[in-house]
Amino acid sequence: MFARLDRKVTPYLFVAPFFVLFATFGVYPLARTAWMSLHRWDLLTGPVRFSGLANYAHLFTDPLFYNALANTASIFVVSTVPQLAAALGIAALLDRPLRGRTAWHGAVLLPNLVPVVAVALVFTQLFGRDQGFVTWVLTWFGADPFDWQAHAWSAHLGVAVMVIWRWTGYNALLYLAAMQAVPRELHEAAALDGASRARVFRSVTLPGIRPTLLFTVVVSAIGGLQLFTEPRLFGVGSSGGNDRQFQTLVMYLYENGFERFDAGYAAAISWVLFALCAVLASVNAVLVRRLVGRG
């Protein structure tokens, strides 16, 4: 009797810690945020009144929301395309016989270990208008001091550089692991057939790591949607520049929740954000299933 109970209950006890944590830090905040988003909710005084979907209705007609969404998308593109391309190149370089492999792997991952606040502070100084290193270098070529925060394109570029710096090495290691799982015989067969290095890379390596490529794109997109610290510290305040030219979605959420105390509206933004992430994750799941199925 006890043994049967043991067999029935014990497995649940073993998995319980995860579900308890998930319920506390995952489900409960989600549910509560959903509940808040249906109210006019003041951060300090709490619920003012039930307002149904009014927050969402306002959000979908709010030009500042679309501005933040566009900025987020733009920074994502500017940061992800060069980042993944560079990661692919680095992985290809590392995927050959190298002396001191582990040291190289470690070095590539190093930028990812630096706390993001430190990264943001250092890069913001590098891009400083008056004393910045980048400005200083540009003046060698006769350029005038440049205000990186003042223009949308340059601000997006500045923020993207931080993201690239932090995540390129991490993605390179993911690609490297995937590349090493591509059967060596395929490479050798292609080489025997007289394919060039570039051709082997294009026709053997790239198709072989397709699921990983897709995975990194989706993970970068989810990370890009949640971009906050880098742009927040790049400028002054949560507005992302004087014309909100680099305000991301999470910064807009923060501005509403913690600077204007409109917790209900901030909750609605975070649910839309959650929905966007969920859509991306499901797209990823579907595509991976298809790719792997075909492979």
Binding site: T45, D243, E259
Partner: protein, 420 residues
């Protein structure tokens, strides 16, 4: 007292959230935490208080302006984590007055009897419900003066004597003319730090800004004070008279240190910030004189006792002691923190006080003299929703991306949307 954005706020906010909470110290004494921001100069007073109250251990916690207030709001929203005594800057008071439940009503400890200590307007800003609820006890105030660099003025061939400088600019229009002269004769340095500090100073000299004193209605689009401050500051920005460095940012500190601009609107608490950023090397280069357009007030704080604290009575006693006239007098003489109590700012010790860092400027007389004429700016409950909109608009003018008219038009539109 007011110290704005510092990039480390994220770190400090985390530390704040993690490290809050009162209780008992290891040796059985009652521990009271006091959270402040910027420069309050309280450390030596804490020791004095502990000597007089052997059963109390006072722990100070200092953050920058942003981190401090964000930490307080988080603590109020979640119901725990606030210090026993928390400083609140005046611009946050209208909003916090709306949620009095988060704070102990100091009237129940007898605070109402202290009313006559403060200038009437200072007291009024700290109370709610027609004065029945006392939210906070006033600390300092931000009487306005103008700081200027004697060395840069000399280079531009301008007078350096503080009375002669004051005579140059009785009005802001004349101040702008001096700026033009300075730009012509002393290229290389800007005349003032940023459009925002000029804008804030001009606006703080008016009685009303974004919201009407009567009925709290939105008047930013029609109030001539706002447009006037916007135009004066915007014109300085558009003609490149500003160093384009926002107050309290790292580039601002550097500009102070290297003499990047010649004048700075100086609420009393700004002196400590200049000393901080300028360091000993710049001692004697600055001076203080009267501000164009007459006196005004910019900033100043209150000590509050959050209702979540376990030792509210003891916290109140500490706050009461910290804001008592003897301590206010000491804070001014030691740290230049301008008292908000007439009895103190009319005290000869305060009036005679000179500051060697600022070329022996008679700061006591300068600030105290304007204290009696202060007409504090009325702040609406939703002030914080509107204020940044105009700041950003002026920033666009300063960057050169918009004309004054374009920026104004967009600001008014955004401000209307924000208060909808």
């Amino acid at each position: 007292m007011r110290r704005s954005y510092r990039p480390l706020w994220l770190v400090t906010a985390l530390v704040l959230v993690a490290g809050c909470g009162g209780g008992t110290s290891g040796d059985g004494r009652l521990r009271l935490t006091v959270a402040t921001f910027g420069e309050f100069g309280y450390e030596s007073l804490f020791e004095e208080y502990e000597r007089a109250h052997p059963g109390v251990d006072v722990v100070g916690r200092v953050a920058d302006f942003d981190a401090h207030h964000k930490g307080l709001i988080t603590a109020l929203a979640t119901g725990n984590g606030a210090a026993d005594v928390v400083a609140v800057e005046e611009q946050y008071m209208p909003r916090l007055r709306e949620s009095t439940a988060g704070f102990a009503d100091l009237a129940k400890f007898g605070a109402s009897g202290l009313r006559d200590r403060w200038a009437p307007w200072k007291w009024e800003q700290g109370v709610a419900d027609d004065g029945k609820v006392v939210l906070g006890l006033g600390t300092d105030m931000g009487g306005l003066a103008m700081c200027y660099r004697r060395d840069l003025f000399e280079r531009a061939g301008l007078p350096t004597d503080r009375d002669a400088v004051a005579a140059l600019w009785p009005t802001w229009e004349q101040y702008a003319e001096v700026a033009d002269r300075f730009a012509r004769d002393a290229p290389g340095a800007a005349f003032v730090d940023s459009v925002r500090s000029i804008y804030t100073a001009v606006l703080n000299q008016a009685g009303e800004s974004y919201f009407a004193r009567a009925g709290d209605s939105f008047i930013a689009d029609t109030n001539p004070n706002v447009k006037r401050a916007f135009d004066i500051a915007g014109a300085l920005g558009a003609s490149g008279r500003t160093a384009k460095v926002n107050t309290f940012t790292q580039p601002w500190n550097v500009a102070i240190n290297q003499g990047g601009f010649a004048t700075l609107t100086c609420p009393a608490w700004m002196l400590a910030q200049i000393k901080d950023a300028g360091g000993p090397a710049n001692s004697g280069k600055w001076d203080v004189t009267a501000i164009p357009g007459g006196g005004g007030n910019w900033g100043g704080s209150y000590l509050t006792v959050p209702a979540q604290g376990a030792h509210q009575r003891e916290a109140y006693q500490l706050a009461e002691w910290l804001t008592a006239p003897e301590q206010q007098r000491k804070l001014f003489v030691d740290d230049g923190i301008l008292p908000s109590q007439p009895e103190v700012y009319r005290d000869p010790v305060v009036l005679e006080h000179k500051d060697p860092y600022f070329s022996d400027a008679p700061v006591g007389r300068l600030f105290a003299a304007s204290s009696d004429t202060i007409r504090p700016n009325y702040r609406g409950v939703r002030d914080a929703d509107v204020r940044p909109v105009f700041g950003r608009a002026l920033g666009r003018v300063e960057e050169g991306s918009q004309s004054i008219d374009q920026a104004w038009e967009q600001a008014v539109r955004e401000a209307r949307d924000a208060v909808r």
